[in-house]
C-alpha cells in the first residue's frame, strides 16, 4: 500500500494523463475516423482509394512506430514546437482512426440494401433515407464494436509511457529511479495493471448496457 500512498502525487498525474490521452485521442480518432469511413463508402472512386490506402498503410504499421514518427520525426521537420503529450495524442488518434473507419464501414454494410431501396422507392430524399432508415440501423450495430475500439485505445495509451509521456506505466521508472520513493517495480506495475483491469471492466459494463438498450428487435 506504501507504493500508492507514498506516491499519491505521481499516481494522480499518471491517471489524469492516461485519461487525457484517452479522451483527446478518442476524440481525434472519432472525427478523423468518421471522415475516412465516409470516404471509404462514398460514391467517388478516388476518395475510396485514398481512404483504403490510408487504412491499409496505418493499420499495418505498429503503434510504436506511429509514435516514433510523431514524437521523434516531428521535431526533425522544424515545425512549431509541440509537447510530447500533444504529439502522443495525435499519434494515437491517427492510429485509432483507421479502426474507427473500418467499424463504421462494417456497420453501414450490415444494413440490407433492400432497406434503402425500399426507402427510395417510397420517394424519400437522400437526407431522410439516411436519418430515418439507414443510420438508425447502422448505429445500433456499430456501438458494441466501437466500444471495443475504445477499450483497445485505452490500453494503447500505455505505449505513450515509452516516449517520455508520464502516462501510468512510466511511474515504474520514476519510482525506481528515485531513492526516496517507496514501492518495488513489481508492486507499482501490479497496481497499474489493476487500474487498467478496473477501467476496462467499467467500459465493458458500459458496452453491455448500451448493447442491451439498443438491441435490434427483429
Amino acid at each position: 500500500m506504501d507504493a500508492i500512498f507514498g506516491n499519491l502525487d505521481l499516481w494522480r498525474e499518471g491517471i489524469s494523463l492516461t485519461l487525457l490521452v484517452f479522451f483527446f485521442g478518442g476524440l481525434i480518432a472519432l472525427v478523423l475516423g468518421t471522415i475516412i469511413g465516409a470516404m471509404r463508402v462514398s460514391p467517388v472512386p478516388i476518395a475510396r482509394a485514398v481512404g483504403t490506402l490510408y487504412v491499409n498503410l496505418v493499420r499495418n504499421t505498429p503503434l510504436t512506430l506511429v509514435f516514433f514518427f510523431f514524437v521523434f520525426g516531428y521535431s526533425a521537420l522544424a515545425l512549431p514546437g509541440l509537447s510530447n503529450t500533444v504529439l502522443g495524442i495525435l499519434a494515437i488518434g491517427t492510429y485509432t482512426a483507421t479502426y474507427v473507419a473500418e467499424t463504421l464501414r462494417a456497420g453501414i454494410n450490415t444494413v440490407p440494401v433492400g432497406q434503402a431501396e425500399a426507402a427510395r422507392a417510397i420517394g424519400l430524399p437522400f437526407g431522410q433515407v439516411m436519418t430515418q432508415v439507414v443510420l438508425p440501423q447502422a448505429f445500433r450495430s456499430v456501438v458494441p464494436p466501437m466500444m471495443s475500439v475504445l477499450i483497445a485505445l485505452l490500453k494503447n495509451t500505455t505505449v505513450a509511457a515509452g516516449f517520455s509521456i508520464t502516462a501510468l506505466p512510466a511511474l515504474q521508472s520514476t519510482i525506481s529511479n528515485s531513492h526516496s520513493r517507496p514501492g518495488s517495480p513489481m508492486e507499482v506495475l501490479l497496481w497499474v495493471a489493476a487500474i487498467f483491469v478496473v477501467l476496462v471492466m467499467l467500459l465493458t459494463w458500459l458496452q453491455r448496457s448500451l448493447e442491451n438498450r439498443w438491441r435490434i428487435a427483429r
Binding site: 470516404m39 463508402v41 462514398s42 460514391p43 467517388v44 472512386p45 478516388i46 476518395a47 485514398v50 498503410l57 493499420r59 499495418n60 504499421t61 505498429p62 503503434l63 510504436t64 512506430l65 516514433f68 514518427f69 521523434f72 520525426g73 521535431s75 526533425a76 521537420l77 522544424a78 515545425l79 453501414i108 454494410n109 444494413v111 440490407p112 440494401v113 433492400g114 432497406q115 434503402a116 431501396e117 427510395r120 437522400f126 439516411m130 439507414v134 490500453k155 494503447n156 500505455t158 505505449v159 509511457a161 515509452g162 501510468l168 506505466p169 515504474q172 518495488s184 517495480p185 513489481m186 508492486e187 506495475l189 501490479l190 497499474v192 495493471a193 487498467f196 483491469v197 476496462v200 471492466m201
Partner: protein
Amino acid sequence: MTSVLYDVPGPKARRRNLLLAIVTVVVVVAVIGFVLWRFSLTNQFSAAKWNVFTYTAVWASIGEMLLNTLKAFALAAVLSLALGFVLAIGRLSDHAWVRVPVTVITEFFRAVPVLVMMMILYYGMPTLGVSMEPYWAVVLALMLYNGSVLAEALRAGIESLPRGQKEAGFAIGLRKSGVMMLILLPQAVRAMLPVIVAQLVVTMKDTALGFLITYKELLYYAKLLAAQDGRPILQAAFVIGGIYIVMCLLLSWFAGWLEKRTSRSPKVAGNVPDAPEEDPRLHPESTVTEVIAMQKGAGKFNQN
C-alpha cells in the same frame, strides 16, 4: 453500381461526384505537398541523411533485427494459439472448478495492456528473484494476451455453431472430447480463421513493443540508426516502417489465400454453390430477396 447509401448516379450526381473527386485530390495533394515542402526545407532528401543506408553492414544488421522480430513473432504466435485452444476449451468445460478460474484468467489477461505485462515480466519479476531475457518477456507477454483474445474468438466460434452439431455428435456415440475435437473445433476454426489471422497480424505489430523493454528488434535498431551522423530519424522510420507494412501485408495475403483454399476443400463441397456466377450469396450487391429466394430453392439438407 448501387449501395445502401446511393443509387446509380444521374447527371446531377455525377457532376457532384466529380466536384468531390476534385476536392479530395486537392486536399490530398495539399497535405502531401506540405509534408514534402517541410521535408525539403529541412534537407530530408539530402544524401547525408540517407548515407547510413549505403553500408552493407547496416543492411546486415537490419536483417539480423528482422530475424529477431520474426523469432519473437513465430514463438509467440505458436504459443498463443496453443494457449487459446486450452483456454477456450477450459471456458466451455462442464465443471465449474475448471470453467470459473479459466474465465477469470482469460478476462484478466485480456484487460491488462501488453506493454504493462511485458514490464511486469521484465522489470517486475526480478523483485521476486526471477529475471529473464527481454526476448522471453516479449514472447510470454504476447502469448498471454493474444492467447486469451484467441480463446474468446474460438469460444465465440464454437458457440455460434448450431446445437444440432453437438447433439448429432453425442447421438452417434462420441464422447465429450470426440465431439470437441472432431466436430466443434474444426468448424469453429474454419469460421473464425479471419479473426485468428487478424489477431496474428496484431501479434506481429505488438512485437514492436519489445523496443520499449530493450529487446533488440527492428524498431530498437531504428532508434539506434536515428542517432547516427546526420540524425536520419525520419529516414530510419520510413525504412523500418516499410518492412513492417510489407510483413503485415504478406501475412494478410497469406490469410486470404488460406481462406480461399480451405473453402475449396472437398469436405465443405456441400456449402459451395454449383454456379458461383449466379449465386446471389457471393455478390455483395445482391438483395436479401434474391438470397432468400435462392435459399428456398436450395436442398433442405443444405446448411446455408
